[in-house]
Amino acid sequence: MLAYGLWDLGGSALKSLLVILGILNTVPILIWLERKICAFIQGRVGPNRVGPFGLLQPLADAIKLAFKEEIIPADADRVLYLLAPFLAFLPSAAAFAFVPFGPEVKSASGELVADLRVAPGSGAGLLLLLATTTLAVYGVAFGGWASNSKYPLMGAVRATAQMISYEIAMGLALVAVIASTGSIDLQQFVADQARPLLGAEFAPPLRWIPNWHVFHQPVAFVLFLIAMFAENNRLPFDLAEAEPELGAGYHTEYTGLKFAMFFMGEYVAMIMMSGLCVTLFLGGWHVPGMPLLEGARGALEPAVSSGAVAAIGVLVFVTKVMLVLCFYMWVRWTLPRFRYDQLMRLGWKMLIPVGLANLFITGVMLVL
């Protein structure tokens, strides 16, 4: 894919615009959803005053934040202090460039018409994506450091240590999946998961089960799931903003829209991680029964039907991501927060050995 012309550039710009608009509009919905789910789990009704079902509540909150006074602490490092909210937000948003939202649209001759990734043909998508998401920790670290205040610093140090620890576990989980797929191209990942379950040829009734990695790499999936929560600083691993200990954590000294930026960055990172989880383990845009659609292609113009399949793929992908996000919230309102030493013990003494063992077993299976 070296021929990256003006046409592709325009397409990418259009796609990135769509994606960014999509994300920015999802965040308020997520905030609303989070409050509603929290309320229902606790036997309350949640926001219901602003707009129907309280749907406009996040908007009201945003307006409130916009009118707050912007405070910069006197001894803050101004440049880093102002940079941090953007650093917390941008990498997660940028990582969406590599997520395959739907299948490739192909013409009758099998020629590629449109790639539903913002960055088309990014063959090393997984690596780029991981590299980009990891940058988000700089926002947290800078925010805590530049505030020149003790609690934010503690929060930032915790967040950094935690992210580094859990990235290893996450990496180990992913290496096992990469080894069994044999590719780091995310589109390839999904295509691999669209096949029938590995080994199902010996048990024909199981052939309808897709080869989603959650089924043939369950240990890696659980590892990834746990690491995912830790990476996003979500409960039960939200040590970086443990209210009883650290005030609000790394963004204690931020007000108004800069705080909103951090807040939004957190949610965007959540969407990002859910997208990654769906792509890597839950079959991406694939859903059982999709081959039927492919079969119906003959009736339509190939490019049109291919486009229709792609559209359905995007819908499936978005639905799956929303479900994973709901799971995030469900877990948040179920589990209490870990203590910091417990968190580190879980990361280093349990997840990493389990990840290594899983990788070893996967390797042995592959060699056999």
């Binding site: 229902f40 606790q42 036997g43 309350r44 009704v45 469900w330 179920t334 589990l335």
Partner: protein, 193 residues
């Protein structure tokens, strides 16, 4: 904590395997099983609330004294709650109070003020009645001593909790207001002798 020693029993008793302490069993230490159970629990709560089990009362529109379509109380005010007072009326709509000042003397917060006057001559059953009966709701501690002290069942505490007012003066209830307050609780509380 009644933690029985497993070896304390008689030798003849069958030896039961003691369950491990919380947090020590294999499922507890694996976390994941228990986490799944916890998730199931919260999911149940979620489901119950969605199906109309929320405890919230939509306050300004509704309050805990109202009933819903099925005639169930929306909230659950305890009928024995000690809230705002009423002065009880007799069969002829007069206050039962005979201005004996027992409640006034029993009140530890000194929130009751009574000015007795001779009852009108046509009231054959009593000699005195209160000309002024004032109860300062801001001073009242809702202890219920006045209700206990009253020999005529003339003052009662009812579960009514709040009556918003815009000034302190309005929090001092006069006789008429106490007579009209929370009329549902005017019904006979004790069997007649």
């Amino acid at each position: 904590m009644s933690h029985s020693d497993p070896h304390a029993g008689h030798g003849a008793e069958p030896q039961h395997e003691t369950p491990p302490e919380p947090g020590k069993s294999l499922t507890d230490r694996l976390y994941l099983v228990e986490i799944a159970r916890g998730l199931g629990k919260t999911l149940n709560h979620f489901k119950d609330t969605i199906l109309g089990g929320e405890a919230t009362v939509q306050f300004p529109e509704k309050n805990i004294y109202q009933k819903d379509e099925a005639e169930r109380a929306i909230g659950h005010p305890n009928p024995r709650l000690r809230g705002e007072h009423i002065l009880v009326k007799d069969e002829q709509g007069r206050e039962k109070c005979v201005a004996c000042l027992l409640c006034m003397s029993a009140c530890p917060a000194l929130c009751i003020y009574i000015e007795p006057e001779p009852a009108p001559p046509e009231w054959k059953d009593r000699e005195r009645h209160p000309r002024v009966f004032e109860l300062d709701m801001l001073r009242c501690i809702y202890c219920g001593y006045c209700e206990e002290a009253c020999p005529c069942d003339a003052i009662r505490l009812t579960p009514k909790l709040y009556t918003p007012t815009t000034s302190r003066a309005e929090r001092v209830y006069d006789k008429q207001r106490l007579l009209d307050n929370n009329p549902e609780w005017q019904r006979p509380q004790r069997p007649k002798k």
